[in-house]
Amino acid sequence: MNALILSAILGVVMMFSGLWLKQKSIVRSLAIAGVLLLLLVNVLETSGIVLFKFDWNGMLHFDRFSLLFNSIVFAITLLYFILSSKDMEKVGINYAEYFALIFFILCGIVLAVSFKSLLILFLGIEIMSIPMYILTGAEKRNLKSNEASLKYFLQGAFSTGIMLMGIAFIYGDKGSFQLDAIAPLNGIPSALLVSGMLLMLFAMSFKSSVAPFHFWAPDVYDGAPTVFASFMATLVKGAVFVAFIRLFDNAFGEMQKSSWQLIIGLLTVVTLIIGNITAVFQQSVKRMLAYSSIAQAGFMLLSIYAMNTDGKLGLLLYVAAYSLATIGIFAVLAKMKDYTFEGFNGLAEQQPVVAFSITIFILSLAGVPLTAGFLSKFLMLKAALLSGSNTMWLVIIAVLMAAVSVYYYFRVIQAMYFKKAESAAAIVSVSPVFKWTLLLMAALLIALGLFPNLLFGFYYF
């Protein structure tokens, strides 16, 4: 709750900072300091020091899981700010406002991962979504950005409608919005409840870009300014997944076998196949990453399918690994002149450090051992395997699709290392801080891959 309040305050602060602070670097520093503070208070809360005490009326619940997730989000946001905040200048003039919106999104994330009431979930998701519509359209002169924004908005609003219908049905059956009241199940769930649950499932699938509700994602990630696309495709999506898993664990956990496990399984398969196969043919790295984010969502969905400790912990690691890697690649991409695969040709010669970091990111995304990406995929597969007796089909499809993912991820590596650059410089110059941050992220990925207890330790102790 420290983080919740602080993030809202920071949003306001940033909103006004644009008014008073003319120098962008100061705004930037302020934002970085803010997120650092956010991280700090969240860690404090994890260790029991709570700055603000409220009676949440059972609507919010900050447990270790959500706090740990918040910490991950804040830490990665910090890195994201360090890496990409300079590139936000290119988007438009409302520099400080972008930060304000991101802080609001963080606030929404905190809500969405800590809710105990469907109302809070709804509000949290809306608080995340509305700034994202804006950020997507932040590049006002860019028609692609406009288009993405409007598409996102229309579909987002539509899915909100679906979600509300679902909530209404659930309310109709259970008479409450509190998860604790929804969860108990006496006998067979009623059709109303199941319909509501399914509608919620659709809405959450939409927000987390699970096929076949994913159609917005490639267009939006492609059209949105690259700096924001990376944030949206990673942390926000991760938060939605955490919300997803909390909802289905706390509210519909008892219906798992009877009502939704099979459907989630089907969605997983469809997501994995559509995400991976479609990514194969992409020519633009940015769009490839958009599809890959769908593919990764398929893997994350396995944790919901499984709904066990391995799955939940794995999801945390997954979000961390996936976000670090994707943000890193997007950050470099934002500096590239050419977003196609050819644009990466010969990068290893010009920017060895950058290329090396990207390689680690890609290995992690592809799930190669020694990286956190592997371990998270491993946990997902393990969770899925342990969740039932007949899950082998799902796991095998997942694994085959992971192999397909290698196909498109490695095109970047091939371009960077094995092909010669056609033009002089593929990338605009990068600062040492940028390089070091990239390296740090790569190191983090490897460290988490070798010692996941760095992360899980927080959960258990």
């Binding site: 912990l313 290995l363 799930g367 190669v368 051992p369 020694l370 592997f374 371990l375 491993f378 946990l379 597969l381 393990k382 395997l385 342990l386 082998m392 796991v395 095998i396 694994v399 085959l400 992971a402 192999a403 290698v406 196909y407 490695f410 091939q414 290392y417 094995f418 092909k419 010692f451 996941p452 207890n453 899980f456």
Partner: protein, 496 residues
Amino acid sequence: MIAVLLIVIPLVTGIAAFFIQNEKTVRAWSLFASLAVLAASLFGLFLSGNNQWLEYNHEWLQVMGSSFALKLDAMGQILCLLNALAYVLIFIATWNRSYEKANRFFGLMLLTQAGMMGVFLAMDAMLFYFFWELALIPIYFICSRWGGERRIAATFKFFIYTFVGSLLMLIGIIYLQSKTPDHSFSISSFYHLNQTLSGKEQSFLFWLFFIAFAVKMPIFPFHTWQPETYQQSTPAGTMVLSAIMVKMGVLGVIRWLMPVLSIGAETWSYTVIPLALIGIIYASLIAYRSDDIKKLIAYSSIAHIGLMFVAVFAVNQIAMQGVIIQMFNHGINVLGLWIVVELIERKTGISKISELGGLAQKAPSMTIFFVIIALASVALPLTNGFVGEFLMLTGIMRIHSQYYLWFTAFAGAGIILGAIYTLRMITKIFYGEVKEAVTNITDIRWNEKLVLGVIVVLIFWWGIYPQSILNFTSEFSKEIVDKINILQFLPSKTGL
């Protein structure tokens, strides 16, 4: 401790190599590193039986039930020795070859070595998988970065192939782990599973593991990545791949597949043994008609490995001994062949058999070495190849199956076909009139002579007095066979 050293030395020196800009320095540095590894490996041999030196166990990834467990058993010793020795030989033999971005090349080479060492030593499935992939990534970079024109596509195929295989294995590992009572990845826990898993599970899991190993070895029909990769990648990469890396698959079958899933293996033995046998004949026949030396050796390697695979399925001590020493022998022999091929290619730029000829007149020493090594690879008596193949075939003859004669006949037919294609290659490359393309070739230099000399010495040493190594591995092979045989392999189909 030795086990750790074997991994750490190449790992650390490999990482360090990335930072050495001067090509000469980095070359010397890697040679030094590989010598250090060899020294460690020899020291390990010297200490054999002294378990506190050969074992290492440290907590790691407890949250998942994995630990950092290494052990240098007899098979590990042999393969680590092969790994260490082959690297020294490769570095010396390719001393004169110049690489663009040499620091990266040598760094990656050493990382590959570390990965392979880990595979040979790991006693924990998770760790095994880690190293399995760690070995794959750098070699992929090596082959893809320094090589022929179509290298990118060829090695990518290799990568995808292996990656699919290893992911399937990963499923198998996870599944097995979930079945262990203590939720552990340790090999001893896995061994206990053999009796508790149902036949259905085993026969399913068998394929998950088998495909991974079959791709690596490779076993027909999972082999098509190999010839092209060998042809396209840089010689040092090819040497590593064919001399050492394919042994990862064989080791996997011996250590991780057969004793863990012996019922599954038995269920499918009548499927996979014929596959391997077909592979032997198939690869030999293709080798016979190949016009590219590299492809020829690649296919011959498929045939040799197929024989090893069948021998593992014979499940008796003789065959197992044969396989274990043949792993080393094949590594050394094929390395020797590649070294000569590399020389020829470096000096003439040709690897087409039809364009070569008469090298014996230009490079007699090279010819002699090549012929000796080639003869060892066709299992001529008094060479190391004979001992291995003899033991393996003897073992296959004892297989508990009514088809034992067929198995032996097909497996042995590889010996005849091996002679046919090997002689054809020797004749066409070295004999006959000097072809125009090779008129400028010179004989080999001291470093190459040294390397080939070492190989030849090993060929004869282990060919004439194989007992030195057989004694060393006999206990291990007996143990492993007993483990596989715990429910009597192929019991219902005895023919002998």
